[in-house]
């Protein structure tokens, strides 16, 4: 179960706080997955008590966009901690779907990759199995196929530790990269933090989703949670 709350001493109007939490939540807590299961209790709430002596921030205040941006990035940090603590997780993986025709499609595709047991076990095994990623993209339940063009699709792993080359292309314009540097692939996949980037090249929208690997330990923890 995901539970959380954000509290601030900033005065925010009730319609402002509603809009902020909705926007931030959609791009943070609704973009994480450990195991693909949705709880009956998931709740995130936000309280603003107005203890700071300043004008109330409403949706048309000059500060509104900035506050919204700050809360969103703050909520993303908090949400990412949940993934880092995923049961049995040894890896923190950002799935970045870019250049999509719509944000909704980017999110559905990112979520599908993030929830794929086969992608997650390959991450645990440090296997550069791009075929499983592509497979997940293909069965994503997008509303239509406007965001997907198999001839434009790029898939790559990205290192996050500053090592170079940081990007390892696995699929270029829908064609498998036959010259994949397997040694470099192993280096990137051995990192605790890494990125999977899927470029759809059909638009300008993007979505980041955060997931983790699926490990033996996850099964151990959940085999007897109740007993």
């Amino acid at each position: 179960t995901l539970l959380g709350y954000l509290v601030t001493d900033l005065p925010i109007s009730s319609r402002g706080i509603k809009k902020i939490l909705s926007f931030a939540g959609e791009r943070s807590f609704n973009c994480i997955s450990v195991d693909g299961d949705m709880s009956t209790n998931d709740t995130i709430c936000m309280i603003a008590n107005g203890a700071v002596e300043t004008d109330v921030v409403d949706v048309d205040s000059p500060d509104f966009e900035d506050v919204c941006k700050n809360v969103t990035s703050f909520a993303q940090q908090l949400a990412q901690l949940v993934v880092r603590d995923g049961e049995g997780a040894t890896k923190f993986v950002t799935v970045r779907v870019t250049k999509s025709k719509t944000f909704e499609d980017a999110k559905i595709i990112a979520e599908t990759i993030s929830n794929s047991s086969l992608v997650k076990t390959a991450l645990y095994g440090e296997d550069a199995n791009w075929g499983r990623i592509l497979c997940a993209v293909g069965y994503s339940k997008t509303e239509n196929y406007d965001s997907l063009d198999e001839n434009k699709l790029n898939v790559k792993f990205v290192a996050t530790d500053g090592s170079t080359p940081s990007e390892l292309p696995l699929l270029i314009n829908g064609v498998p990269n036959l010259d994949v540097d397997e040694a470099r692939a192993s280096e990137i996949l051995a990192l605790n933090d890494l990125e999977i980037v899927v470029e759809l090249n059909t638009g300008e929208e993007e979505c980041n989703f955060w997931t983790c690997d699926l490990t033996h330990e996850y099964v151990t923890i959940n085999g007897d949670y109740r007993s």
Binding site: P11, M38, N41, C45, I47, N49, R84, N222
Partner: protein, 201 residues
């Protein structure tokens, strides 16, 4: 494949923090968790200069636990204003518990409202095993005894009190500046390690 374990606690748990003005937190071990760990926490807004505002997003699972239904009702009946406390228990989700669970959730809120002299201004969250009733005697006793503070340890213990299979408490805090130079603080606490793929609305 055996891997060297990562010490997540030392990597991700802060050692200090600055927290928003006029909020206090309290936590206690009521005995619901079998290992004696902290399992009940309350956050309260003590600011009286302005009415607080609040919002929440909830699971879209069709089977919503009693605390979800109760919190939604409190928010709506207060028109998203003047909500001044959140009570959270861990170890029991109070989910799939029917009318008894609903009554227990209401009772928990009432106990906190009475303790803090609030009028229907408390939200509730629960996490833990599904399908078990809350041990209300232990929880009532805990609410009665809980003490509040605003120091770093108080906030960290609050974060610990809502953990279940989490290996570290999740607490972050940051300060930001408005265009007029005024500084505001944002603090966040979350929990979760498994059954995680929220789609809240």
């Amino acid at each position: 494949k055996a891997k060297a374990p990562i010490d997540k606690y030392s990597l991700y748990v802060p050692k200090t923090g600055v927290f928003p003005k006029k909020f206090e937190v309290g936590s206690i071990a009521t005995g619901v968790k079998k290992n004696g760990n902290l399992d009940l926490g309350i956050i309260v807004n003590r600011n009286t200069s302005r009415k607080s505002t609040s919002s929440a997003v909830f699971t879209t699972n069709r089977f919503k636990a009693a605390p979800v239904l109760k919190s939604k009702e409190v928010l709506e009946s207060n028109n998203y204003e003047g909500v001044n406390a959140i009570v959270v228990n861990s170890g029991c989700a109070n989910s799939m518990t029917g009318e008894v669970g609903m009554r227990d959730a209401e009772k928990m809120c009432d106990l906190v409202n009475n303790k803090l002299h609030l009028d229907n201004q408390t939200l509730i969250m629960s996490t833990g095993v599904i399908g078990q009733k809350l041990q209300m005697e232990k929880i009532a006793n805990g609410i009665d005894k809980i003490k509040f503070g605003s120091g770093f340890e108080d906030w960290l213990n609050m974060a610990k009190s809502i953990c279940t299979t989490d290996t570290f408490p999740k607490l972050i805090s940051s300060q930001f500046k408005l265009q007029n130079g005024k500084v505001y603080t944002l603090t966040g606490i979350s929990k979760g390690a498994g059954m995680i793929c929220p789609n809240m609305a």
